[in-house]
Symmetry: C2
Subunit: 271 residues, 2 copies
């Protein structure tokens, strides 16, 4: 139903209903450290998929977990991992229904596959943005490495509420940093974009550069018809008083704008 | 719907219909070598999931592929991988709808998530075997490392035909060797088992030990009510003349029998 490159794959499945599929992998020494508490690693592995489900306004249902770990890994690590994974899965109504553990000679790799559902008319993709739409972001950006990348709350509830009440024209989650992800949303929508750097909500201790480039924010980035913005922000304040919602700019007709800062690219050779 | 430990996870999904979910990972230097042709690695990654779908008599539908590869990996490797993966997926009517590529500092890990469907009444699990059922196996066992582990044909067609015409009481695919997998089927069914070692169909150049222990055969192992065996074998000959079908023993009342040879255990410390 949606072209490759969106947050999840979407498959038509009966009248008006879609199945949503997502896989996401995290790698030791890239997404977590050898010494990271395994429960936090398990939480993060599941929460990242939940964040992608949120990006489509989908309801997650089932997950399968694949653990590739060295034979020398302690059983306690696997137990801790599943404790963290199951806790957050339960919190969002997701059942871990299977998966497997295989041995690898080196770094731990965790891959999570998640299924979800969404009514076709509720689904939000990256590609529906129009020039003139306002660009909004939830939460605060930057500095995730100090702990947020383990403890973030996937914006499932917020995404459902938005899709039901204000239907964003385009939405995604910010995983590689606003500077990498906003251009993706704009490109998918066939628009340009303009943001006010000073308006970008920053985590404590972060400058603009960190807010734009650090990545792993797992906040929602979405486009909304400008006529809906004021009412949306007002209703949001009542519904989610603890989560900031900020207008940071607008989609524009002119394309090809560049950020001053880069987001995270997995295959860039030097950083 | 089925307890953990079966070939796939199964989730009820509407009247009489089940969704089947499977993830399977292969690791460089474990399931393939650094020098293995990438198209063969891609084929194998998909074919292993197809084999698990066959084990439940399910029809595979969609797949997501996660590739964890070093930044130094050649683009040609990824292209070759997908060429092999897409070819076999297409052959079995499976669409690769998504996935992702992440960087890992070390060995390549490939994880495939696959969805499928099966009518509840057609589904075959590991756990329905009864004492007295005959044990049958498709194809020939052993020596897979010489090439079969890259070139095997997932037994989807055979499994569907069996489920439709003779409904095995229990079924699984042989991935870790008959010596490891038959006890799993018998345990899940709450039975013991007896096999005639000499009856086990062996690949060219393999002794009994190799046929029982080598693993990666990806053949179907199933239990059938003894009254159905003769007709099943006769009809099979007409339907699948190029694939041997062999009765190798029976499920028994007495449990706890041990094989003289081991199958493959990923987490055994010494082999």
């Amino acid at each position: 139903v949606v072209p490759a490159g969106d947050d999840c794959a979407v498959i038509r499945d009966g009248a008006g209903e879609c199945q949503v599929l997502k896989t996401d992998a995290i790698v030791e020494s890239v997404h977590f450290e050898p010494g990271s508490p395994p429960a936090k690693v398990g939480r993060k592995a599941i929460a990242r998929c939940l964040s992608d489900m949120a990006a489509m306004a989908a309801t997650p249902r089932n997950a399968l977990v694949t653990l590739a770990i060295p034979k020398t890994a302690a059983v306690a690590w696997v137990r801790g991992f599943y404790r963290g994974a199951i806790a957050i899965a339960s919190e969002f109504g997701v059942e871990i229904v299977g998966g497997e553990t295989v041995s690898t000679p080196s770094n731990i790799v965790v891959s999570v596959a998640m299924t979800g559902r969404v009514a076709r008319r509720r689904m939000v993709t990256r590609s529906g943005g129009r020039a003139g739409d306002s660009i909004l972001v939830t939460g605060r950006l930057g500095g995730s490495i100090r702990g947020h990348h383990f403890s973030f709350t996937p914006r499932i509830r917020e995404a459902h509420w938005l899709a039901q009440n204000f239907k964003p024209t385009a939405m995604m989650d910010i995983s590689d940093g606003l500077a990498a992800d906003l251009p993706r949303l704009a490109n998918a929508s066939g628009t340009g974009w303009h943001i006010d750097n000073a308006a970008v909500p920053r985590s404590k201790g972060c400058g603009v550069r960190e807010a734009l480039s650090d990545g792993e924010d797992y906040e929602l980035l979405f486009a909304l018809h400008p006529d809906k913005v004021e009412e949306c922000c007002r209703a949001w304040l009542t519904e989610f008083p603890e989560v900031p919602l900020t207008v940071i700019g607008a989609l524009t007709r002119q394309k090809g704008r560049e950020f001053d800062y880069d987001g995270y690219d997995h295959f860039k050779q030097s950083r």
